[in-house]
């Protein structure tokens, strides 16, 4: 009897890219739901616009590149990029903000470099930084969380999405700086952290509402580590780096440096630690390298938040560290079994 042959191993692989991406998407749900809860419909609309744009752009470029469209879309990587970017956009953003950011992320940052696996920079963060630099006004259109003021209704949100200002809303009256932004601005006018934190914008750990969003991402992130979709090294090292440096400056000057928890539970720290810095394609790939990579992102987040021009810093910190990945990988190769055994063997 004749048989067809193949190279070993003759065993079903135990893992799939699309399943990993899907698990990451599922892990984003608690944080995303919290975000919708605290900031209203605008967040949901951003998610929808970004997702549709990502799929359309990915399909278009795949077609131009003569690559399989349907099967590639099914790897869910484009959708994940869109969701990560959308979750970083303010709730009052007009539709073209999510559209431009996502299109740039997918077409320029991902597909032009060769698509999944070949992009040196995190596409979602490239899209975010392009928007932040190009449209600073729209990118700061944040509103107070629902713990402080009512979020715009679904009708108002839809109107805002298409660039119309609803009559019932005074746009200048409803926008409000994020807690990180407030902290930065007010420290800049020499107020103490104690005075600043009395503002109702702040909650127990970080910003009011924001800290629950952070908890949501933390929960999802822990599940991802438990499910071994991501390694523990990058998130833990990142949070450790950020805690270490913010603790030192807090101890040196508690009046003009917020306590470490504030940094951990404000802005995009948790989203960044578990979902953005852990993007395998653009992160360091060695176990030791991932510790260094995460730790340095943590330090950079603090440095840019404290001394940079923007209130949050996850995107810049991640992109800067993306640059260093080849170097980190080169210098953190593990000792191969049977090499340098002189000091190893007994």
């Amino acid at each position: 009897m004749e048989f067809s042959t193949a190279i070993s191993p003759h065993i079903k692989p135990g893992n799939r890219v699309d399943r990993m991406m899907l698990q990451v998407l599922l892990a984003l749900i608690p944080g995303a739901l919290a975000m919708i809860w605290f900031f209203g419909w605008g967040i949901l609309f951003n998610l929808i616009v970004a997702s549709v744009t990502a799929i359309a752009c990915e399909a278009l470029i795949l077609k131009l590149r003569n690559k399989p469209v349907r099967s590639t879309l099914c790897d869910l990587s484009a959708l994940l990029t869109a969701v990560l970017l959308a979750l970083a956009l303010p709730p009052l953003a007009p539709w073209w903000l999510a559209f431009i950011g996502t299109a740039f992320a997918i077409i320029i940052a991902k597909q032009l470099y060769g698509g999944l696996g070949y992009n040196p920079f995190n596409p979602a963060m490239i899209g975010y930084v392009v928007l932040l630099i190009s449209f600073p006004l729209q990118m700061t259109a944040w509103i107070p969380p629902s713990t402080i003021a009512e979020t715009p209704s679904i009708i108002d949100s839809l109107q805002l999405l298409f660039g119309l200002v609803p009559e019932s809303l005074n746009i200048d009256a409803i926008t409000m700086a994020t807690p990180l932004d407030t902290m930065k601005t007010e420290l800049g006018i020499n107020r103490t952290t104690g005075e600043i934190l009395e503002n109702s914008l702040f909650g127990t750990f970080g910003g009011s509402g924001w800290e629950w969003i952070a908890n949501g991402y933390l929960l999802g992130g822990i599940w991802l580590i438990y499910k071994r979709v991501i390694g523990w090294q990058i998130p833990i090292a990142l949070l450790l780096g950020l805690t270490a440096i913010s603790l030192v400056s807090f101890l040196l000057g508690p009046d003009n440096h917020p306590y470490p928890f504030f940094h951990l539970f404000s802005g995009a720290t948790m989203l960044g630690a578990f979902f953005i810095a852990t993007d395998p394609v653009t992160a360091s790939t060695t176990p030791k390298g991932r510790l260094i990579y995460g730790f340095l992102i943590g330090l950079l987040i603090y440095v840019i938040r404290t001394y940079g021009g923007y209130p949050d810093a996850v995107a810049f910190a991640v992109l800067i560290m993306n640059l260093t990945v080849p170097l980190i990988d080169y210098y953190t190769q593990p000792r191969v079994f049977g090499h340098a055994v002189e000091e190893h063997n007994e």
Partner: protein, 515 residues
Amino acid sequence: MKRRLWDYNGGLHLAEHKTLSSTKAAAIASIPRELVIPLSQSIGHPAEPIVVAGQRVLKGEKIAHSVGSLSASVHASSSGIVREIADTAVPHPSGLNAKCIVIDTDGLDEEAPSSGLVQYEQLDPSALISIVQGAGIVGLGGAAFPSSIKLNPGTNRTIKTLILNGAECEPYITCDDLLMREQALAVIEGAKIILHTLGIKHCLIGVEDNKPKAIEALEKVRDELVYRNIDIVEVPTLYPTGGEKQLVKILTGNEIPAGKIPADIGIVCHNVGTAAAIFQAVIGGKPLISRLVTVSGNGVRNPQNLEVPIGTPIRDLVAQCGGYTDGAARLIMGGPMMGFALPNDDIPVVKATNSILVLTTSDLPETEQALPCIRCGKCAEVCPMELLPQQLYWYGRAKNGEKAQAYNLFDCIECGSCDVVCPSHIPLVQYFRATKSAVRTSKSEQQKADNARQRNDSRLLRIEQAKAERAERSRKKKAQLENKKKSQAAIEASVERAKNKKIARTEESSLENKS
């Protein structure tokens, strides 16, 4: 007493599928109508046939003699007539044919006279080594390294420990499990013979903890015989613990340095089946003419272990196991992780055949386009050699053999763990094999080019030298000529002078005479 164990990086917990065949006692396979016995059944040189077509051979009779030390003799597995010595399909990943002795068996199974020894303790190690070599014993774990070589590690290496490998970490395979359960005495006594041959005392037998019955059987025999120097060590079930490097690490904490062999760190490693075969050869006087083979997988009706005459065509073996099921899709020699797929079942069982697997489509990976590497590093997490397969793949794809070597490509043991965990379903091991062979080819081409350059350089040098020599010779000749001329001139001059003198004298005398 629990021994301390060590561990190695990564490894995989695979679905075992061992109960398919391990729940039944081993059976004796019947003698097939024809035996196809390859001349090359070990690493190294093929054996030289010492029979001719038409000759009658007896069971256990040597039919091909080993050539040099890295070679193993081959014996007839049953009695019959040699039909031919011809190129036929053999189990080899290349799928190429090789020389085999084909025997039409007569069903009498008539044995050649042989004599065992009971008092092997009085024998010199070299005598035992030649018995093992004469019996054609090779490593039965799958590597088929001639065992006699491992019994003679040389005087420059001090051996301290014998390790018997009973880990059997590949899914489906249970032949070593059955052997340890049913022939524990042969394993333990085999270990004693090897210890005696090596002149050492200590033996460790590593068995994975998914084989409690095997451990129990070995311990029972060991305790009955009061062999306190043989430790039976339960090791955790993890793939690829049965790899020699991994097992040595687990049992001793020491790593075999890259490019070295266990003997370099004072260890000799044999498979439990090899130990039993050595026992049969020394005590029973029996050459290696049969072995336990696991026939398993969902593609075969009645999976089991069988004692199979070497040279039995796989089709006969499968027929004895109830034949194929409807879904049979792939025929594999060895385990599902490192075994190789065979194109047909006319291929015979050889000494290295621990298992014949027949898998169905639902057991096998789907043939699909691999996705790009997303550098998730799962491969590095499971790599037992602590390599970075994601980087090796990257450089392999870029055909950058130099960089791949810098990332220790040649330390890859091709265990397939990275393949199984890769979410992009990249055939990593296939890439690594291809890169290795590309590097080897370019190395040998480089060597050839270097040799050619060297030859050309020395030729130019020779020409240069010859030229120089010629020039020197002609210079010398010229000088000689000149010297000759000079001396000629000098002679002529002196002759002239003499003449002149003579004339002068004559004139003088004539003048005198006149005066």
